[in-house]
Each structure stands twice: as C-alpha cells, then as structure tokens.
Symmetry: C2
Subunit: 244 residues, 2 copies
C-alpha cells in the first residue's frame, strides 16, 4: 500500500516535528518519517538537504518540519496541524472551535520558542556553550514570569472548558491536547526541579498529560523505537544550571 | 450604523496589531480600534485591561491583539488574519493557496519575533537599557544570518510566483502582501543603514512595498491619524548601535 504522508524533519531530535509526529500517530494514518529511513531507502539527513535545496519547488518551506502529500507540501508546524486536523477528525466540525484550537496551538508555538530561547537567547547559529551567561539571565526571567504565565493560561482554559471534559476544547481529543502533552513532558525533562515544585498548581494540565500518555495509540508510539528520547540537541534540554 | 469589528490592541504602538489594522483598512470594513477611543467612549488602555481581566470570557486571548465580532473573540495575529482573509477576499478561494498564504504569514510572525528580540533578547519584561550588551550580540547574528535568510526567502517566493504578479501568491493582494509591506517599512525604520546597503538584493520586495504603499485605501490610511508613527516602544525600534 502506498504511503500517503511524508514527514520531513531532523531524525535525531523530537523538536517541532514531534508535534506533527504525535498527530500522525494518534490518527493512525500511514506515514513515513523520511529522514529516519536509511539512505538506501532514500532517507537520512541528505534527503532533507536535497529537498530544501530544490529551487524549483512550489510552496518551499522556510524551515523544517514539512509534510509532503503526493506533490503538495505544507509547512509550519501549526499549519500542518491545522491541515491534518480537518482531515482526520483532530478538530470538531465547526469553525468556532477550529479557530479557538488554532489560537491555542499558536500560543503553544510561542511558548516553544521561549523554551528554546532559555538555552539559545542570542542565536540558534551558536552553541549553548557560547551563550551560557545570557541563557542564565533569560532562564531566570522565564521561570519567574513566562512559565507561570503560560502554564496558568492553559490550566485555566482546561478548568473552564464548558464541556467539563479532560480536553482543552469540546469533549474529544484535538491536536492541541497532544501538543500540550508534549509540552508538559518536555518541561519535566528540561526542568525537573521546577516542574516538581510547581506541579500542584496545575492539576488539570497534569491530568491531561497523564490521560494522553495512556491513549492506546499514543502509548504504543511512546514505547516504540519511533519515539526519539529527549536529548540535549532538541528544544527541551536539561541543563542543571537553568533548572532554577 | 453598528460597527462590527472591534480591535483590541495597545493604542501607542503599531506592534503586532498593525498587521491586523492594515488588513481591516484594506478591506474597508467598519471597525473600532477600541483603545484609541477616549475613555469616555469606552476606550483607552483601561478598556484593554478590563477585558483581559474578565475571567468568564469564552476563548480568552493569551495576549493582544484580539478581534471581537459581536460576542465572538479571535486572537493571535495570524489567526485573526486567516479569519478576516476568508471573509473579505484577502485570500483566493481555494485551500491550497490559503494554506500557502498562512504558512508565509506564520513565517512573517517568526521573523517579527526575531526582530523584536534584537532589542529584547533576554526578557520582554525588562527595558532595552537592561539588556543592551546581549542585544548587540543578538543583533550581530541577526544581521549576519537571520535578516538575509528571511529576506532572501520572501524575495525568492515573489520572484517565483508562477502568476508573475507583484504579489506573493496568485495575482491579487492577500493579507501576507500587506504584512510584507509592514515588515519592509519597519525594517527601514529600525535599520536604515543596513537596509540601504542591501536593498539592491531584494528588487521584488522593494517593488511590493512601493506598490502596496500607494494602493488607494492603504495610502489614505498611512496619511491619516489612524496610522501611529513608528516609535521606540514598538517591535521596530531604531537604536543606532544595532543598525550594523
């Protein structure tokens, strides 16, 4: 059977691509994580580079990840999720909820950028070791102001869902629930002390994390080799000095 | 006649709200820029604060700007533009182009964040004066790597539009064209030396800027009091030391 979806993303990290992987795994569609295939199978990082250097591409992405569906390419994580969401029932069938879910996902994206900047406030082009002092200053503000602001926001969205479900919107899983799971898991990896010390403030977020984690297809994915472990090259990195 | 759209955004800066203002002005719909009304008219910053502190709101925004349409609230700049785009012919009537335009707008949003971080790499909660050294390091990398990468990307999208129009997508104005105009105008304000020295590399971007600027409704807006001048509180700020 022909695979329909091809995900193009770095093969050694979860990164932004993980939000897409979780959606693909949850919907149970056939997909290929291109760069995780062997070079003999047309995979590897060289497949990513070759693709990005194709100057004749229609709809060229600015950056990874992107999803290829036959000849059509969609990029930017939130855009990919919106695209998949409407096709695979990862959003309710009405515009109001879809806009609301997209807004929440865009807020997740902003949060992810700020988390990344805790270890890379000066330049993604430089190593963490070349911006350690600035990273510490950035992380101090992050823990004091940004982390509680974002977590408090999502906690209150969960708590005030009029459907009183476990989910952010309505009473079924949407792509932003999967992304929130990933955020909480990543924050726990990066900042274990901080997250332990504040977890009581966010009972609904913790419950969402624990619930998503054991959904059968997500649990199967997390325990498979397809799930790349958190590591020190991704967005969520554990530097003891930044876990304030 | 009842005004339909209410924009909630800071009244003293262009900021992210300006991308929405330009779309509203171009489409010629009636709208109220709420905080720019007097307090007697229910405006001012106090109207923003009061709104954000309403804990019972459905679909609460994480941050400004947001757009209120009767009782419906939509927030996150790119989401607002997507919402307005489909309603006011600011995007073509097919999903492929709409996803492509949204991808480009999300890339504009990422670029805007990086531009903001040239003067605020450590914390939005601190003054520029408290992060001047870090700002200089951030700006050096920005000018060397990020600015040419983003501008080169958008230039190539314009140059390779199969419709060979002045616009990024298809042969009519879409919301991302208006946003690109704003980006170029803002970059020229913030970094006049840099932008003058590199402008020959981006003939299509310059042409887009010059074309959008004289569209009748945009020209009328730019010369009106509704257009807040660039200033040192917004995203685009001119610090001579950062104009490398």
């Amino acid at each position: 059977m022909q695979k329909v979806y091809e995900l193009y993303y770095w093969p050694m990290i979860q990164g932004r691509g993980e939000f897409v992987r979780l959606a693909l795994e949850y919907t149970n569609v056939d997909y290929v994580d291109v760069a995780r295939q062997s070079e003999q199978e047309g995979g590897g990082v060289s497949a990513l580079i070759q693709f990005l250097e194709n100057k004749k591409m229609q709809h060229p992405p600015f950056a990874l990840p992107y999803l290829k569906v036959n000849e059509f390419i969609v990029s930017q994580t939130t855009n990919i999720l919106q695209y998949l969401g409407t096709r695979h029932a990862l959003v309710p069938d009405n515009e109001t909820d879809r806009l609301w879910i997209h807004q929440l996902q865009l807020t997740v994206a902003d949060f992810v950028t700020e988390i990344h900047d805790t270890h890379h406030p000066i330049a993604g082009e430089l190593y963490y070791e070349d911006q350690k002092e600035e990273a510490l200053r950035h992380a101090e503000n992050f823990h004091k102001n940004r982390l509680p602001k974002y977590l408090g926001y999502f906690e209150s969205v969960l708590a005030s869902n009029p459907d009183k479900s476990k989910y952010l919107v309505g009473d079924t899983v949407s792509y932003v629930d999967l992304s929130l799971f990933q955020l909480i898991a990543g924050l726990r990896y990066a900042f274990p002390n901080t997250m332990t010390s504040i977890e009581k403030k966010y009972p609904n977020l913790n419950a969402l994390h624990d619930h998503i984690k054991i959904l059968p297809r997500i649990a199967a994915y997390l325990s498979s080799e397809r799930r790349i472990p958190f590591n020190q090259q991704g967005i969520f990195r554990h530097y003891k000095v930044l876990d304030l």
